[in-house]
């Protein structure tokens, strides 16, 4: 019990020492919360992206996984991002730092198209 109090005190001192303790703490919390919501998955199956369109908050990292027997790529139509060729079970991730619409396609099989919508 005593020990845990001492740790708590140390923590408070540390926060004060770095200044603006309360504010810092809440921004940490926000960031942690964002982190839990900041990953999204797109699967590549049967020559299609699933889901073909996703909406995610700014800062989200989207990961594509190729589950086909045939290689695919994930290439932004507006040249924002471009994966190397993904063989079976290989992944590609991109973190979206700005809001907007990001259409993309497979440059090997251009009939395969998808879209990431990034919101504030």
């Amino acid at each position: 019990m005593r020990r845990s109090v001492r740790i708590a005190n140390t923590a408070v001192i540390a926060l004060i020492f770095f200044g603006g303790g309360a504010v810092k703490q809440s921004s940490f919390a926000a960031r942690a919360q964002q982190k839990t919501a900041s990953a999204a998955e797109v699967k590549i199956d049967n020559f299609s992206f699933g889901p073909a369109a996703i909406t995610v908050p700014v800062g989200t990292t989207v990961t594509w996984t190729n589950r086909d027997d045939i290689p695919h790529t994930v290439v932004s139509t507006d040249k924002v991002f471009k994966s190397k060729v993904l063989d079976t079970d290989e992944k590609f991730s991109y973190t979206f730092d700005k809001p907007g619409e990001y259409p993309y396609f497979c440059s090997i099989h251009p009939k395969m198209t998808g879209k990431v919508v990034v919101t504030n």
């Binding site: 049967n46 020559f47 086909d68 060729v85 063989d87 396609f105 440059s107 251009p110 009939k111 198209t113």
Partner: protein, 322 residues
């Protein structure tokens, strides 16, 4: 395939549901490749897997060559865990031809992932072919990650642009086109303006009696645009070839044989030496068809194909060889 046979097929071929307009003339999983004979300026194409039944007289013409396609070296999934062995089997068939072909055409997807060792393996296997000259065009799998630089270094010496070129053999004008570069979202294969302009100039000086053979990876006709099986600007390319009496277009990409005649132009696609793909629209996607191991080689045409696909479609190849 004689002209007469083609006409018969048009009338006789009405069970598939895909060829009612008379466009698709035959579809079959026959052939590791195609043995092509040019006779009287007209190209006749025979499945490599059925050549034992071919009348030897049909194999002789002014010029013969073999088209192989879609080796996908490096592919190792259940649809065919040993694509090197099936390519070797194709070469063995080529070497067993009673009329040795003058050269080979490879219509792309030499490799599966554009890896140097994949190209090396294909080159090594093709060295064992008795026909020493091999003419290539790239498939989309050959130009991954580097915009086709490696492909050009290996196979594109003396070629134009992304690897297109033409050459003459015994009075026949061959044109290798590239339609797998700079593909646009939502689109099909693309030749592009530069290549089209080159093509127009390339054929301008030729006499209209010159037999023309065009080869490219993705079909230069709309086989099934829903799966990307077609080329956006192929109509323009074909329009430059209107004046010629005999035009043959050889493609790969769809891992099955199809033929179509449009005026003076005959279109063919070749099977893959690696794995079969489904007929247009008959599967959720054009991915590799997984078949029991004992059936695989028959689907690649290395052994008799009669058991595998519908009797009807295969009967056409039989008729052609009769």
């Amino acid at each position: 395939m004689s002209r007469k046979t083609k006409d018969e097929l048009l009338h006789d071929h009405n069970h598939d549901g895909v060829d009612r307009r008379g466009f698709l003339k035959c579809m079959a999983w026959a052939g590791t490749g195609a043995f092509c004979v040019i006779k009287g300026g007209v190209l006749n194409s025979y499945s490599l897997s059925r050549l034992s039944e071919m009348n030897p007289a049909d194999a002789k013409g002014e010029l013969s060559f073999v088209q192989i396609s879609d080796s996908h070296m490096g592919f190792n999934k259940p649809a065919n865990p040993d694509v090197a062995a099936t390519l070797q089997a194709a070469v063995a068939k080529i070497n067993a031809l009673s009329t040795p072909p003058e050269f080979l055409l490879h219509t792309g997807d030499i490799s599966h992932l554009s890896k140097p060792e994949e190209f090396d393996t294909v080159d090594q296997i093709l060295k064992s072919a008795t026909a020493k000259d091999v003419f290539f065009v790239p498939g989309e799998h050959d130009v991954l990650n580097d915009d086709g630089k490696q492909y050009l270094d290996r196979y594109g010496k003396g070629a134009q642009g992304n690897g297109w070129y033409s050459f003459e053999k015994k009075g026949v004008h061959f044109i290798g086109l590239v339609n797998v570069m700079n593909l646009k979202a939502g689109g099909l294969g693309t030749l592009g303006q530069n290549q089209l302009e080159w093509l127009e100039k390339d054929v301008k000086h030729l006499k209209s009696s010159t037999p023309i053979v065009v080869f490219a990876h993705i079909p230069l006709w709309a086989v099934y645009p829903e799966w990307g099986w077609g080329t956006e600007d192929s109509a323009q390319a074909i329009s430059y070839l209107k004046k010629f009496g005999s035009v043959t277009v050889l493609n790969g990409h769809i891992h099955q044989t199809m033929q179509k005649v449009e005026g003076n132009v005959t279109f063919h696609t070749a099977t893959s030496t690696a794995f079969p793909q489904p007929k247009p629209g008959e599967a959720p996607s054009p991915g590799p068809m997984k078949v029991p191991a004992e059936q695989l080689r028959s689907l690649l045409g290395i052994t008799d194909v009669n058991f595998v696909r519908g009797q009807h479609a295969l009967g056409i190849i039989d008729a052609n060889l009769g």
